[in-house]
Amino acid sequence: MIKVEDLHKHFGGFHAVDGASLEIAEGSITGLIGPNGAGKTTLFNVIAGVLEPTAGRVTMAGEDITGLPPHKLFHKGLLRTFQIAHEFSSMTCRENLMMVPGDQSGETLWNTWFGRRRIANEERALRAKADEVLEFLTIEHLADHRAGQVSGGQKKLLELGRTMMVDARIVFLDEVGAGVNRTLLNTIGDAIIRLNKERGYTFVVIEHDMDFIDRLCDPVICMAEGRVLAEGSLAEIKANEQVIEAYLGTGLKNRVNA
């Protein structure tokens, strides 16, 4: 589905992503783990078009998508969420979701004045869909609350909800569970599995919570220092020498072994 070939992203002398190559299989929920600073979020940003790669290629179903701007990728069905939840703070949760499918007919000046019926129909459908999504995420009671005022975890749900407003093909979730309590995390996990099963979304999930990874993800890719270190099931990854080293540092491993 997504193929990343020898991707580099340098910030001056700092090589945040340093020759990462990986492949995401269609229909999978791939976990992306790695110590802090491993380049996971930068990799997401490059794939999602927020940052331009220094070198390398990203293809989606065979098509070169390297360096395409986010709104174009969006229309190709590639979506992402943010590590720190983003929201349109002055709009209600429902309006936040209704913003999502871009290029709506109401977004041209002509239709604003002369296509009012078409816009109204479209908005009605969107509203129904937004309400459905809110219910799916068990936050229907927040529909008319301002998105800037709901809790951090609820904002994360809203981020996930945004990806459900369209028929996405692949969704990149950046620490969707960070700062979220257990119950809510389970809700998020359930939602991801259902989307994967029922609607065929492919997911790539950055996460630090190993239980969460264990429950959802297969395969798991481990990154360190801007490169892919290992790939396989979580059990394989956990047993991998290099991975342990990257997480714990050589000194510690030696001490454990000694």
Binding site: F82, F88, M91, G102, G106, E107, L109
Partner: protein, 336 residues
């Protein structure tokens, strides 16, 4: 009776002019604030965009006048206004294509865009002077007054007269219509909402599939319309002189910043705050005080806090005071 006279004198010399001037500033500041909110830079070329729109309107007005078309008691310029707006939209879109888009693609920092806009300002300024000349142009016609001072005195029997110029009346009415339309657009229409979304969180807007180029284009169109309306109203009310519009940039920016850059409500509030302070501080209060105070206390001097030469200083003092206590402006704009 003295009290009524004082109120009428106050209205005539302070309230009415300040409301008209405030409406003009508010419309100008709205343009600045929209650009800041959506394109994320301070557009120094705004004063000259106003001048260009006004110039286009004046040229069409002259053409209409030469054809013998008039708008009855109202100024012909109102008929020419839509055409002037179209002219201004054309030049603004052209500038965006030729200049700003390049820097957007480079993801240039706001400070670079500010300097770029200064370049655009000088070019537009030159263009306007080449086309229409650097001198005063008077293009107001139709009836001069809604009420003259003499009529008012006869109607009410007061000693003081209240004159309301047609242009002042038109300014307020047109400003209300323009602001009403703008707020309806921003809050009720899909396009307006995507503009707000884009202003609120650019990254998220892009990831929601909102097309940035379209949002930017629509913003420029709206800004061109607001700038032309503001410029034409100011020109009708006072006079059109390219250099004056260049100077107007100062109180307009002061208004937008006092209200909070990026906040449309703030721009309107800021416009009126600046206008009222400029007018009240540079007004000679002797007449009003003479009516109000007992004879023994009556002032000998003019009781003018500052000469009108310093009126721009007033807006900047207000600006400094507001920024010292509320750095994001009165209505919580984006931080500058």
């Amino acid at each position: 009776m003295d009290f009524l006279n004082a109120i009428v004198a106050l209205s005539n010399f302070v309230l009415v002019p300040a409301i008209a001037y405030g409406s003009q500033l508010a419309l100008g500041a709205l343009g600045v604030t929209l650009i800041y909110g959506i394109l994320r830079f301070s557009n120094f070329a705004h004063g000259d965009t106003m001048a260009f729109g006004t110039m286009a309107t004046i040229l069409f007005t002259w053409w209409f006048q030469s054809l013998g078309i008039s708008f009855g008691p109202l100024p012909t310029a109102l008929l020419a206004l839509p055409l002037g707006i179209l002219g201004c939209m054309a030049i603004v879109l052209l500038t965006d294509r030729a200049v700003y888009r390049f820097y957007r693609e480079q993801k240039a920092k706001p400070v670079i865009l500010v300097i770029v806009s200064m370049g655009v300002m000088f070019i537009m300024n030159g263009l306007v002077r080449v086309i229409i000349g650097p001198d005063d142009q008077n293009f107001a016609d139709g009836n001069r007054f809604v009420i003259t001072a003499r009529d008012f005195k006869q109607m009410t029997g007061l000693d003081e007269g209240l004159a309301i110029k047609t242009t002042q009346g038109i300014t307020v009415v047109v400003a209300i219509i323009a602001v009403g339309l703008l707020f309806w657009f921003l809050n009720r229409t899909r396009t307006g909402k995507s503009m707000r979304a884009y202003s609120d969180n650019e990254d998220l807007a892009l990831l929601s599939g909102i097309n940035p180029e379209r949002v930017v284009m629509i913003t420029w169109l709206i800004v061109a319309a607001l700038a032309t309306v503001a410029g034409v109203l100011y020109g009708l009310d006072k006079t059109f002189k390219p250099f004056v519009y260049f100077q107007l940039l100062l109180p307009i920016f002061a208004s937008a910043i006092v209200g909070g850059l990026g906040s449309p409500v703030g721009a309107i509030a800021g416009g009126f705050i600046i206008a009222f302070s400029e007018v009240t501080i540079t007004y000679a209060w002797k007449k009003v005080l003479t009516y109000l105070l007992p004879e023994a206390w009556q002032p000998d001097g003019l009781v003018q806090l500052m000469s009108t030469d310093y009126k721009f200083a007033v807006s900047f003092v207000i600006l400094l005071i507001v920024l010292l206590f509320k750095p994001t402006g009165l209505f919580k704009g984006k931080s500058v």
